[in-house]
C-alpha cells in the first residue's frame, strides 16, 4: 500500500518547524520516496498533517466496566480525535496488576481497537499501595510503564523499594504527586471559589509536597520517573531543580488543567470535577508557560469515562474525571489560537515527547517512522455536542462550548482509521 499526501502543511515536532510539502507512506512506514505509483493520493488542501497523538494515560474501562468504555468505543473516539496510540491506564476493576490481566487487555485491544494500544500496569497489587506487582513478568508481558494512577503510594518505604526494583529493570514509573493526607477528602483547590462554594478543598501546595517526596526518592533510587500531571505553579521550581540535578524525570499535564480553571465548576457542575481539582487561573497560565519552555514534556487527555449515574450526584460524592480523546486536539488548539504555543511546540508535547519517553517509534515525520498521522483543519469551528462523541461515556466539560480544530483523517500504520465524512 502506497500513500501520498500532497499539498500538506506538515507539522514536524522533531525538526521544530512547519513546512508545506508532501509526505509518502509505504507499507505502513514513512518513506522519502515511493517505490512506484501511489495507490492513493490524498490532497490535504493546505491543511495540517502531523504525527498522530500519543495519549499517555487513557482509561479504557476494560476489564470491569465495559458499559463506560470499551476498546472498540475508545479506539473510535481516539481515531476521531487524531490519537493514534493510546497508552492505557491500569485503574480498571480489577486493576491491571498481573500478567494474566495484562494479556487479556492486550488481546482485547488487538481485537477491537482501530488505533494502537500500549498498556501500562499497576505499580502495586490492586493499586492498594501495600505490595509491589510482579514488575518483571509484567514488563515481559508488554507493560510500557507502571503506575497506580491517581492513587498515591503513601507508604514511602514501599515506594522506594518499588522504584529501586523498577530501576533495575529500566522500567518507567508514572506517579501522581499529591500529599495524601493533606488532600484527603478534597474535591476543589482551596481559595476564594472553594470557600464560597463550601467545598472541601486542598492547598495547591500538596502537589509540590508530593513531588518533593518523589524527587527525593529518585535521588535515592535512580529510577526512571514520569509525573502524570503537574498542575500548579508552585511545583514547577521543584521540577526544574530535579531536572537540573540530572534526575531521570519528565512531567505531563492533562488538557483540562490547561484550558479550564476552578471557576468553571461554577454551580457544582460535576463534569468539571477532575483529579487533581481544577486550579486557579495563575496556575493554569504558569503551567502553559512550562509546556512552552519544555519543562513540562507531555500533554494528555487524561481520558476518564464516567457514566451519568456517577456524575449526577452532589459534587462531593460525584466521580472524578472527564473524557478527552476526541476533544484533546480542539481543546489544545485553544493554546495555539491564544498564542501560547506554536503547532510544532504543541505536537512535541502531544506526540513526540510521549513517544520518546515510552520508547515508541511514533511522534515523528522522518523516514522510517510509522505511518501514524493526523490530518486536521486547525481553524474549523464547531459547537461540541457531547452526545455526538464516540465514547460510550459522555462526560465532557466542553459540552456546548465553541471549539476550533477538526480532525479530517487519521491513519495508523498507513491505513485509514478515520476519515471525516
Amino acid at each position: 500500500m502506497k500513500l501520498l499526501f500532497q499539498n500538506a502543511r506538515l507539522i514536524d515536532p522533531e525538526a521544530g518547524e512547519e513546512r508545506l510539502g508532501e509526505l509518502a507512506v509505504e507499507d505502513g512506514v514513512i518513506v522519502s520516496a515511493l517505490s512506484g505509483a501511489p495507490d492513493e493520493t490524498i490532497d490535504c488542501g493546505g491543511k495540517c498533517l502531523a504525527p498522530g497523538i500519543v495519549d499517555l494515560g487513557v482509561k479504557v474501562s476494560e476489564p470491569g466496566e465495559r458499559h463506560k468504555e470499551s476498546f472498540r468505543s475508545a479506539g473510535l473516539a481516539a481515531a476521531r480525535g487524531g490519537v493514534t496510540t493510546m497508552v492505557t491506564r491500569p485503574d480498571t476493576d480489577p486493576a491491571i496488576d498481573t500478567p494474566e490481566v495484562l494479556e487479556f487487555v492486550s488481546r482485547r485491544a488487538q481485537a477491537d481497537s482501530v488505533v494502537r494500544v500500549v498498556p501500562m500496569a499497576a505499580l502495586t497489587k490492586g493499586r492498594r499501595g501495600e505490595e509491589m506487582v510482579e514488575l518483571g513478568f509484567l514488563q515481559d508481558a508488554g507493560a510500557a510503564a507502571f503506575t497506580d494512577c491517581d492513587r498515591v503510594v503513601a507508604d514511602t518505604r514501599l515506594l522506594s523499594r518499588a522504584l529501586t526494583y523498577a530501576a533495575g529493570l529500566g522500567a518507567l514509573v508514572v506517579g501522581h504527586v499529591q500529599e495524601p493526607i493533606l488532600s484527603r477528602g478534597a474535591c476543589a483547590t482551596s481559595g476564594k471559589f472553594a470557600s464560597l462554594a463550601g467545598l472541601p478543598s486542598v492547598s495547591p501546595m500538596a502537589e509540590r509536597m508530593g513531588l518533593d517526596r518523589d524527587v527525593s526518592l529518585l535521588e535515592m533510587t535512580g529510577a526512571r520517573y514520569h509525573v502524570d500531571q503537574i498542575t500548579t505553579a508552585r511545583a514547577l521550581p521543584s521540577l526544574e531543580r530535579a531536572r537540573k540535578n540530572g534526575l531521570d524525570i519528565t512531567a505531563g499535564v492533562g488538557i483540562h488543567h490547561l484550558t479550564l480553571n476552578e471557576f468553571d465548576v461554577a454551580g457544582y457542575r460535576t463534569f468539571f470535577k477532575v483529579k487533581p481539582p481544577l486550579r486557579s487561573e495563575e496556575d493554569r497560565i504558569a503551567v502553559i508557560e512550562a509546556v512552552g519552555s519544555g519543562l513540562i514534556d507531555v500533554i494528555s487527555s487524561m481520558h476518564t469515562p464516567q457514566d451519568e449515574e456517577s456524575k449526577r450526584l452532589p459534587f462531593e460524592e460525584a466521580a472524578s474525571g472527564a473524557v478527552g480523546l476526541e476533544t484533546l486536539l480542539p481543546a489544545a488548539m485553544r493554546l495555539v489560537h491564544a498564542g501560547h504555543l506554536s503547532l510544532s511546540q504543541l505536537w512535541r508535547a502531544l506526540s513526540l515527547n510521549p513517544a520518546r519517553r515510552l520508547g515508541l517509534a511514533g511522534g515523528r515525520l522522518s523516514e522510517g517512522a510509522p505511518g501514524d498521522l493526523v490530518l486536521f483543519d486547525p481553524d474549523a469551528p464547531f459547537v461540541l455536542d457531547r452526545f455526538a462523541l464516540a465514547s460510550k461515556s459522555k462526560n465532557t466539560p466542553f459540552d456546548g462550548m465553541r471549539m476550533e480544530g477538526r480532525v479530517l483523517g487519521t491513519w495508523v500504520g498507513g491505513s485509514a482509521a478515520y476519515r471525516a465524512g
Binding site: 482551596s190 470557600s195 463550601g198 467545598l199 478543598s201 454551580g267 457544582y268 449526577r312 452532589p314 459534587f315
Partner: protein, 313 residues
C-alpha cells in the same frame, strides 16, 4: 413587589430589592404570629414537603409551623431513615417525590450544592434549608430581619461574625446578605477556622476578639461544631472559650448598644457565656427564632405566588 426567584437556593442570587421585599413581607407575618389568629390562607391547597437529609429539630419545626400557619398541607420526610440508606440516589429520590406533585420542597442536605442539583430535577419551588458548608438562606434572612428590627437598617452597620466560619453555611449566607446590603463585615476566629481566600470576599479578617469586636453594632456568634475537635482545628474547648468565647469583657469592646446573635443550638461555655446569652438587653437569640418562622412564611408565600403565576402562564 419584586421577587423574581423560582427557588430560594441561596442569598447569592438575590437582588437587594428582593431581600427588602421579603423582609417587608416577613414584618407583616411577625404581626400575624403575635396576634390571636395565627392563620393566613395563602398556601391553601398547596403541599409542602420537608426533606431533611441531615438531623434538624429547630429548622424543621420552624418550616413546618410556617407552612401550617399559611394553610399548606405539610409533610415531613426523615430522609436519614429512608431509601437513601437503601442506596437510592438523590436524583431518584427527587423524581419519586416529584411524582407526588409537591408545590414547595424544603431541603437540607449534608453536601454543598446538593440542593441546587435537586432543584434542577423537580417542578416545584425548592427552598434550601442548609446544604453542606454552602448556604442557609432563610437563616441569613431571619438574621437580617432581626437586625433590621433592632437597628432600623441593614446598611452601614459593623457586624462581627465570630467563630467557626470555615464550616458554617450560616456565615456564608450572612456574608452575602450583609455585603449586598452594604454593611461592614468582620470575620473573627482562629486562623484554622477562617476559610482560605476569605480576604477576597470583601470582608475584614481578625484573629482576636478584642480587635474584631471593636465598635461592632452586631456580634454574631457561630456554633463550634464539636465534631471539628477531632479534626484538630483547635487545641481544646477551654482554650477556645478563653480566646474566642463571648463573655462580658470581650463584649465590652463592642458598641454599648450592640446586639448579640446566635443561630443555635448554643454550646454555653464554649462559644458564648450563659449570662450573655440570657441577657435580654443584649441577646436577641429568642427573637431570631421568632423571626425564623416569619421569614420562612414570607419566603414560601413569595415562591408560591411565583409558582402560581408560572403555572397560570
Amino acid at each position: 413587589m419584586t421577587f423574581r426567584q423560582t427557588h430560594l437556593l441561596g442569598i447569592e442570587p438575590l437582588h437587594p430589592v428582593e431581600i427588602t421585599t421579603l423582609l417587608d413581607l416577613a414584618d407583616t407575618y411577625v404581626e400575624l404570629n403575635r396576634g390571636p389568629e395565627k392563620h393566613a390562607a395563602v398556601l391553601e391547597g398547596l403541599t409542602q414537603v420537608n426533606m431533611f437529609f441531615e438531623n434538624s429539630t429547630r429548622t424543621q419545626a420552624s418550616f413546618e409551623l410556617a407552612g401550617q400557619r399559611l394553610g399548606a398541607d405539610v409533610m415531613n420526610m426523615a430522609m436519614q431513615a429512608s431509601s437513601i440508606k437503601k442506596g437510592e440516589s438523590l436524583i431518584d429520590t427527587a423524581l419519586t417525590l416529584n411524582a407526588m406533585h409537591p408545590d414547595l420542597l424544603v431541603v437540607r442536605h449534608p453536601h454543598s450544592g446538593a440542593v441546587n442539583l435537586l432543584a434542577e430535577k423537580v417542578n416545584c419551588a425548592v427552598i434550601n434549608a442548609g446544604d453542606g458548608r454552602h448556604e442557609h438562606p432563610t437563616q441569613g434572612l431571619l438574621d437580617a430581619l432581626t437586625i433590621r428590627r433592632k437597628k432600623g437598617r441593614l446598611h452601614r452597620l459593623t457586624v462581627a461574625i465570630c467563630g467557626d466560619i470555615a464550616h458554617s453555611r450560616v456565615a456564608r449566607s450572612n456574608i452575602w446578605l450583609l455585603g449586598k446590603m452594604e454593611s461592614r463585615i468582620r470575620l473573627v476566629g482562629p486562623p484554622t477556622l477562617i476559610p482560605s481566600g476569605a480576604r477576597d470576599w470583601g470582608v475584614e479578617v481578625c484573629h482576636d476578639m478584642e480587635t474584631g469586636l471593636a465598635d461592632a453594632d452586631v456580634v454574631m456568634m457561630l456554633r463550634l461544631q464539636k465534631e471539628r475537635m477531632s479534626g484538630g482545628f483547635i487545641p481544646s474547648e477551654r482554650e477556645y472559650y478563653y480566646r474566642y468565647g463571648l463573655d462580658a469583657a470581650k463584649l465590652a469592646r463592642a458598641k454599648p448598644d450592640a446586639i448579640v446573635m446566635h443561630p443555635g443550638p448554643m454550646n454555653r461555655g464554649v462559644e458564648i457565656d450563659g449570662t450573655i446569652a440570657d441577657d435580654i438587653n443584649r441577646s436577641v437569640i429568642q427573637e431570631q427564632v421568632e423571626m425564623g418562622v416569619a421569614v420562612r412564611m414570607a419566603a414560601m408565600d413569595l415562591l408560591a405566588r411565583n409558582l402560581r403565576d408560572r403555572r397560570a402562564a
